[in-house]
């Protein structure tokens, strides 16, 4: 009996699975950003607000307008309008907080996928100015342009490395992988300039370029460690153990030393290629972060307006409405803190401090982000004071 034939592994299919997994997460994120109801749990929020409406509805009193109008059912239009405004404002704020948490959970799943790829070590090496773009801070300068410029420069470097070490590159890969060498050579003929990106044809070229680069990277990862890397690793560890107090192998695992080494021309090229691909992945993360930032700003403004709305007009049961607003505020601040802390701890988003992944880093940027988004929201309870009866002027006549 012959053994079942093993499926053929190819350099195009191998990474495709990684990208396919990411594609599922990315599709989920896009749907959550696109749909009005980002997930099925939104039904729970609507039900909660319906129950709240049923409970609070009968407790509503009459406004000053009701004293002056002669509406047949005793509830003037202003009262109905005011009730609608209050509930819509509270629902919109809660909806924003819910959406923020749901989108972040989608992004976190996608980032977990990134962290499983060998490319994750490249995130440590990206320029620090890219790290700022993946944080939930206030909108800065045109970020997309900055990322595009960095990617262009990285592509130029990649071409330079390949051009300088073309022969050694082919030699190190060997005649068995002549086809791979050819694919890399063809890829390196692609221009770095992004004037292509302005047209749909140029954009397609960029997409194909990144796709092929991923395929090549995956194949090269499978070849690790190359002969030059093994020699360099042995040499490095030997030198370390010759020291009176050797520390080799204690600071980093062998796998990490191999991943971070770049002894031969192939590994140097892989290192630069990983950074290019990593920059393109950061571009995506930044796009989602921009959505989260817009959402956080909307939540802040919505909370502010809801507080002002409840303080702007005496409407019974004012204290109950303010209590509900306080609960909504707690949920909003809670979701903001949850997202900010999770982003601060994330392994991939900690581009500037990879050693601090999984731990909260209390640096100036994090404190500023907390103050920017959570500070104003947390300061709202001061505004939620119920005015004394004496403070309401008697202008009814």
């Amino acid at each position: 009996m012959s053994s079942p034939r093993k499926p053929r592994t190819t350099f195009r299919t191998a990474l495709r699975d990684d990208l396919r997994r990411s594609a599922v997460d990315i599709r989920t994120i896009r749907l959550r950003l696109f749909r009005v109801a980002p997930s099925n749990w939104a039904v729970g929020l609507i039900v909660a607000f319906l129950c709240l409406g049923v409970w609070v509805g009968p407790q509503f009193g009459r406004s000053l307008e009701a004293l002056m109008s002669d509406a047949p059912d005793g509830v003037p239009m202003f009262d109905k309008l005011f009730r609608l405004m209050v509930f819509a404002m509270l629902l919109a704020t809660s909806w924003g907080a819910f959406r923020l948490a749901v989108v972040w959970l989608g992004l976190r799943k996608c980032l977990e996928g990134f962290a499983r790829m060998p490319i994750v070590t490249a995130f440590d090496r990206l320029p620090p100015r890219l790290a700022r773009l993946t944080q939930l801070s206030l909108p800065g300068p045109a970020s997309g342009t900055a990322i595009g410029a960095v990617a262009d420069l990285q592509w130029l470097h990649l071409q330079g490395i390949h051009q300088a070490k073309k022969e050694e590159f082919a030699k190190e890969l060997g005649p068995d992988r002549a086809e791979l060498t050819e694919v890399v050579a063809d890829l390196m003929k692609e221009p770095a300039a992004q004037e292509l990106a302005l047209t749909s044809r140029g954009r397609r070229a960029l997409v194909e370029r990144l796709g092929t680069l991923h395929d090549v990277l995956r194949e090269l990862w499978r070849l690790e460690p190359m002969k030059a890397d093994v020699n360099a690793l042995i040499e490095g560890l030997n030198k370390e153990f010759e020291k009176p107090v050797p520390r080799g192998g204690e600071e980093a695992s062998t796998a990490l030393l191999i991943r971070r080494g770049f002894a031969g021309p192939v590994q140097l090229w892989v290192r630069a290629a990983e950074e290019y691909a990593g920059t393109r992945m950061v571009e995506y993360v930044e796009w989602v972060t921009r959505h989260l930032r817009e959402l956080a700003l909307f939540m802040l403004l919505s909370l502010l307006l809801a507080t002002l709305l409840l303080s702007s007009y005496p409407y019974p049961p004012q204290s109950l409405l303010r209590l509900i607003l306080l609960v909504v505020l707690g949920g909003t601040v809670g979701s903001l803190i949850f997202v900010l802390i999770q982003m601060n701890r994330d392994e991939v988003l900690r581009l500037d401090r990879p050693d601090r992944a999984g731990k909260v880093t209390w640096n100036l940027r994090f404190v500023m982000n907390l103050l920017t988004f959570v500070g104003p929201a947390a300061a709202h309870p001061a505004e939620l004071r119920v005015p004394r009866a004496a403070e309401i002027p008697l202008c009814v006549g």
Binding site: R8, T10, F11, R12, T13, A14, R16, L19, S22, A23, R27, R30, L33, F34, S63, E65, M68, S69, A71, P76, M77, F78, K80, L81, L84, M85, A88, M89, A92, D176, V183, R203, V207, L210, G211, E219, R280, M281, E283, Y284, W287, R290, H291, E294, L295, F298, L301, S302, L305, A306, L308, L309, S312, Y313, P314, P387, E391, I392, C395, G397
Partner: protein, 96 residues
């Protein structure tokens, strides 16, 4: 639509205040223009209008952002659309 119909109803209510007693309408007007009195019905309406403007601005920006697609997202999307194996695939051989 609910908001629109309620708003039209409110305007009708205000117009009806003048009949039969124009004094009621005058009192309402005085109270409405005293924005800082905290009993003006105009202030909640203005705040609600601002809230709607913020809501609409956020949605417009969200839709504008959704129209963008990053290079990485397009690559992932293409991979899902591609068949499992293509004629360009190169067989993997172990190093040696």
């Amino acid at each position: 639509m609910v908001y629109l119909s309620l708003s039209i109803g409110f305007v009708t209510d205000v117009m009806n205040l003048a009949t039969p007693d124009p004094g009621r309408w005058w009192l309402f007007f005085r109270r409405a223009v005293e924005i800082d009195s905290m009993v003006s019905p105009v202030l909640p309406l203005v705040l609600w209008g601002l809230g709607l403007a913020v809501w609409c601005t956020w949605h417009l920006r969200r839709i504008a952002l959704l129209q963008q697609r990053t290079i990485f997202e397009s690559v992932c999307r293409n991979r899902v659309e591609l068949p499992t194996q293509t004629s360009h695939d190169v067989p993997h051989r172990p190093p040696g």
